[in-house]
Amino acid sequence: MAALLEVSGLKAFYGQTQSLYDVAFEIPTGGITTLLGANGAGKTTTLRAICNMVKTDGTIRFDGKNIRGLATEEIVRRRIAHVPEGRGTFTTMTVDENLRIAAYTRRDKQGVKDELDRVFAYFPRLKERIQQQAGTLSGGEQQMLAIARALMLKPRLMLLDEPSFGLAPLIVQEIFRILRRINEEEKVSILLVEQNAALALDLATHAYVLETGKVVMSGPADVVKNDENVRKSYLGY
């Protein structure tokens, strides 16, 4: 499998503070890769670096082409969808508008409608709330909306920042089931950042462990899962 995203020598800076040190990883086409690590390890920063939302150095190759330094919106237009932490809901807009905004450059009305139907097949609950103000949705529904909106971009790669954050376990299970379906049925490759390491390692095919801005371990998910250090530090047994 060729790599869809190849990151090497990635450094990231917040002002004078460096928070990533030569991070390197690859995301195989069609796979689910997870980034694990404690708070402040640089997981979110890595996702933000891919979309040029922080100051970076190094190389980020998507589909063989260097995308580092492109404007965020141009990176997104190459079909990398970023579901940020906190979900980024447009709170005063309706669910419908939140979804349509991701398709606003498209002129084919029928295409957008088909896309909406496809997305609603994954998230029937959103369809019921289509005219509701998005800010009034529950946390789980807003997370679904964020993923659904990312799907509207027809992504080849989806970056997910803690989709389980603050949600009830049942909702989290539902969302992770949908993510697996999206990966299999839509052939969307996924880069998942999670605090909940057990959940992430179940879903992912590959895993990287970050510590203070460096990759300290990587491998197939089941190998990482059985590593003693990972078990003690992140899985808690």
């Binding site: 919106e73 997104v76 980024g88 447009f90 807009m93 349509r100 905004i101 398709a103 606003y104 971009l153």
Partner: protein, 301 residues
Amino acid sequence: MEQFLQQIASGLANGAIYACVALALVMIYVSTDHINFAQGEMAMFSTYISWQLMTWGLSFWAAFVLAVAISFLMGVLIERLILRPLHNAPVLSIIVVFIGLLAIFNSVAGAIWSYLIKEYPSPFPKSSFGIAGVIGPHQLGVVMVTLIVLGLLFIFFRYTPLGLAMRAAAQNPQMARLVGVRVDWMLALGWGLAASVGAVAGIMVAHIVYLDPNMMAGILLYAFASALVGGISNPAGAVAGGFIVGILENMVAYAGNQIEKATGVYIIGNGEKLTVALIIVIFVLTVKPAGLFGRVVVKRV
């Protein structure tokens, strides 16, 4: 009674102008958190452009459309060339730029067209327009034109994909980028639209206040009061605020006149209209800072 209705009608006409300028202020405020102090002078400049086009032989409406289009370009260019480099500048620098723009537009207009007060035509036919004794033809025309413009803007922002993208860019720029919206261009478009709406207000009010480089100074204050009354972060509120302030200032003057007639004591009259606007500003800022229709935004620190 007739006088009362006349005052309401003239309040509506003035209010329509305030609503347009207030909306222009709010459109820039919601996407940048800044009040464009030069908004009034930009509208004045647009009005001179339309006047110039008419002296070159264009009809009123042709000059109107062309001047609004030129104003749109002017707004876009100001954002791209002057404010873009100041993207991360402190608030005070940006305020200084706005005040600088105000002075520049004022003196350039004076230099090109002189400070002599000029008459400005009304495009609305005297005979068939208006309701005799209640609302004059120009007042009715102003209300109609501004309502059409406001309606078009509403449709644009509510129902078109580009309008949706502009709202998204204003509400959450970072997330807008993450769905592929070119936020920088949306800001420039917002400036263009604000300049256009301002131009409509300037062209409509010029017949009433006459054309001179300082014609918009008072109107900008009223518009600012309107935006505050409605809630500076709420476009629909700003429009409502415009009409409220327009009617209110006339009512205050009218009540003053009635009192003077009845008792012979002069308390308040036409001369104090601007004072009323300023009192409204101070009152709203102290009692209800978010405005009548504004939302209170709680910022986590």
